[in-house]
């Protein structure tokens, strides 16, 4: 259509711009044709776009929002949240605030209100859950002045710290979950401080997750490179057989592969038995190779190996053997030719495999959960823990958001340093 328009264009207007047969400037006509093309292309991807939006972008966005959402106190203790804004944080709040609390409690009893506020406040201050519960049960019989009667019933209400927590969490958005996700907390004065040393876990876990992922990526490269090289330089018959050997475990259930590693590595397992048999170790010196970091590294390296081998192989396939021969004929020895000529040509594959393995391992969940014991757990295991067991979705969302941000940052850095356009997946 656009071509037809161009073919018919032979007239030139007085102002110098070209016009089509229908008397319209060529520029406009071309632009229209281009626009139509773009629209067609856009409509072709619309279904996919909507699909991604609904199943991917919106849920992730919503989940990420959970990390700052803080509706409990505002929703379930509305009068208290309102009244406590006036409090200057010194001593105890006025009777007005206590009265507002008692009213909120009376209204909330028998609804989800008190349970949810209690659970929320318990994240900030241990013991708040049962404090809220007791106060809720007592609310109906309480007599004014509420300040005296409440404090008398439960000393927690006499601590300024209790009220500071309520005041701090009485806005609809909070940074508390992110603060907790970085092993920080608020002290009694409201400053952000590190939590007790024996309760710090998440920073350590993020570091461990990155280190383990790096080690696993390096190991897959180390193990995968020779296989890919072999596959790329053997006759098709052998290469195909090797390919099947690489892919076979890939097609086996993940759980089966992970469980087999338990059988292999455990203290009474195949590997330990073998080593005892040949006298490498004594029967009482069996090695602990599973339910710790070793287990996680070994099993994940094996599981993620194909993700490294396949991109490497596809890149190596395209490297003409004549380059190496040329290097040799120009006087390079085998090693120099390999290192200076061959390897640089595989960087696209190394980059693709590396990014793929690293990003997959950083969010890996099931294998560390099964073979990692305690020291081989990764951050995703704790996200799952807070989603499923402790039901602290805010903290899970904060941990997940930090992980997502870290991956995006890494991807950005990779793009700046190496260039994403150099990735080659096959």
């Amino acid at each position: 259509m656009a071509q037809a328009t161009i073919a018919q264009t032979d007239a030139v207007t007085s102002s110098g711009s070209m016009i089509t047969a229908s008397g319209e400037p060529l520029k406009v006509s071309l632009a229209r044709a281009e626009r139509r093309k773009r629209l067609t292309a856009f409509f072709l991807v619309v279904p996919l776009l909507i699909f991604i939006l609904i199943t991917f972008i919106i849920p992730i966005g919503d989940m990420a929002l959970n990390s700052v959402r803080n509706p409990e106190v505002v929703t379930y203790l509305p009068r208290t949240a309102d009244a406590i804004q006036e409090w200057d944080g010194q001593g105890l709040p006025d009777e007005v605030v206590f009265e507002a609390l008692v009213e909120d409690l009376r209204e909330g009893m028998g609804t989800p209100a008190i349970g949810r506020v209690g659970a929320r406040l318990n994240y900030e201050k241990s013991g708040m859950r049962s404090t809220m519960q007791r106060a809720g049960r007592a609310a109906r019989q309480l007599e004014p002045p509420y300040r005296e009667t409440l404090v008398e019933r439960d000393a927690t209400w006499g601590e300024p710290g209790t009220w500071r927590v309520i005041q701090r969490e009485s806005s609809p958005f909070t940074l508390s979950y992110f603060i907790a996700a970085l092993d920080r907390t608020y002290d009694d004065e409201g400053n952000i401080v590190q939590v007790r040393e024996d309760q710090r876990i998440y920073v350590q876990l993020f570091i461990r997750t990155f280190m383990l992922s790096l080690v696993i990526t390096a190991l897959t490269l180390l193990l995968g490179f020779p296989i890919a090289y072999l596959m790329a330089h053997q006759p098709a018959r052998i290469a195909n057989l090797l390919m099947i050997l690489v892919l076979l475990p890939f097609w086996t259930s993940l759980l089966v592969r992970t469980s087999s590693w338990i059988v292999m590595l455990q203290q009474q397992g195949v590997l330990n038995d073998l080593m005892v048999l040949v006298g490498l170790i004594g029967d009482d010196g069996r090695l602990l190779m599973v339910y710790n970091q070793t287990g996680t590294i070994v099993a994940m390296t094996h599981i993620l190996l194909p993700f490294m081998v396949l991109p490497l192989y596809s890149v190596m396939k395209t490297i003409p053997p004549s380059y190496m021969r040329a290097a040799r004929s120009l006087g390079a020895n085998q090693w120099t030719a390999f290192w200076r000529i061959y390897v640089p040509q595989t960087t696209a594959g190394i980059g693709a495999g590396g990014v793929l393995v690293f990003i997959i391992s950083i969010g890996y969940y099931i294998t560390p959960a099964l073979v990692g014991g305690q020291s081989g757990q990764m951050i995703s295991n704790f996200i799952a823990f807070h989603m499923q067991r402790s039901l602290n979705w805010g903290l899970a969302a904060a941990l997940g958001t930090i992980l997502l941000a870290a991956v995006i940052l890494l991807y950005y850095l990779y793009n700046r340093i190496i260039g994403v356009d150099r990735l080659k997946l096959g």
Binding site: G110, P112, G115, S126, R129, D198, I201, L205
Partner: protein, 346 residues
């Protein structure tokens, strides 16, 4: 799609929901598996035979989230077997209803089984278990033995998480069973428990799922472990193992409970079922199938003496049993979880 078509479809949908709602049976939800098979034989089918009230079964995996979802939608579940967490939270939130204890009689049940919104239906325990075949001269008899790697060398396993582990650590450090939670309620007590756990850290591994401890024992991976009592007995029965439970060492027992959802439109039938279930003669039939203890005070005496030693609420076991203190854990679980994780992951 035209507007008329959409309306038609919506109408059909409403009609469908309406008919299923009308035809709905009394729905009881339990944990599934062999356990629910036994419940069906002992409670569900005889109930239908006696009263003519049909029962539909469902099973679930627990979690207050799942319970909330069911309680907020249209009536679908009536009676649900829950753990203490869900019982306490569900009752606070008003998604399960208070039971009529005048009918059931508070004194008829173990004190721990009586809750405003639920009645305990089985007693299960976390125990110290070992493979007797590996200890010809006698296995561990106390939690002090669990923490004694000189007398009993080898790897041991604990459930990943502070619950029960801290209780057992204190028992191992010489705290009498009935004082465990008093000690644990002080910060020094928590430090003491962690110090005790730390003393055997090099010989410890952790399990996550209840199926793991029997496997760990069977493969010889550990010499002793904490375990759910039902799993230990099941391994002995189905695989001919010789696993022993050191009841005398001290154990932590917990209850599951029957609760009735607030949005159920079959409150009367549901209560009728719970009354039917409460009969001690009937309760006593469960342990031969699966070694969970009955909660009716008279039921233990009626249990087959063969299986009585295997259940946590047996009179001979109870003196060393510690009832899991949910109030303590509800308040402290977040802080202690973090501390346990930090300690275990080092």
């Amino acid at each position: 799609m035209s507007v008329t078509l959409i309306r038609l479809a919506a109408l059909a949908g409403v009609a469908l929901v309406a008919t299923t709602a009308q035809a709905r049976d009394l729905t009881i939800v339990s944990w599934g598996g062999a356990y629910q098979d036994a419940q069906r034989e002992i409670f569900f089918e005889p109930f239908t035979a006696e009263t003519g009230i049909a029962i539909t079964e469902d099973s679930w995996n627990g979690g207050i989230g799942a319970l909330r979802a069911r309680a907020e939608g249209p009536a679908a579940w009536d009676i649900v077997q829950v753990e203490t967490d869900e019982l306490v939270l569900g009752c606070e939130e008003g998604i399960i209803v208070p039971l009529d204890w005048d009918v059931l009689g508070r004194d008829n049940f173990l004190p721990a089984a009586v809750h405003e919104c639920g009645v305990g239906n089985i007693v299960w325990a976390t125990v110290l278990a070992y493979d007797a075949d590996r200890f010809p001269d006698g296995g561990p008899e106390s939690w002090a033995d669990f923490f004694d790697t000189e007398a009993f060398p080898g790897t041991r396993a604990l459930r990943a998480g502070p619950r029960q582990a801290l209780e057992f650590a204190l028992m191992g450090d010489g705290v009498p069973v009935d004082e465990v939670y008093d000690v644990l309620r002080s910060p020094e007590g928590v430090d003491r428990a962690f110090a005790k756990l730390d003393s055997v850290k090099d010989s410890l591994i952790f399990w996550e799922a209840g199926a793991q401890p029997p496997q760990l024992l069977a493969s010889g991976e550990v010499v002793m472990t904490t375990a759910y009592n039902g799993r230990v007995t099941a391994a002995n029965q189905s695989e001919g193992r010789n696993f022993q439970i050191a009841w005398g060492a001290g154990y932590v027992y917990q209850l599951d409970s029957w609760v009735i959802l607030a949005n159920s439109d079959k409150q009367d039938e549901a209560m009728q079922f719970i009354e039917f279930w409460a009969d001690p003669d009937r309760q006593a039939l469960l342990p031969p199938y699966i070694p969970y203890g009955p909660t009716h005070v008279d039921a233990a005496a009626l249990v087959d003496p063969e299986v009585l030693p295997d259940i946590p609420s047996a009179p001979q076991n109870l003196p060393t049993g510690l009832f899991f203190d949910d109030a303590f854990w509800v308040d402290n679980v977040e802080a202690l979880n973090e501390r346990f994780t930090a300690w275990a992951g080092q």
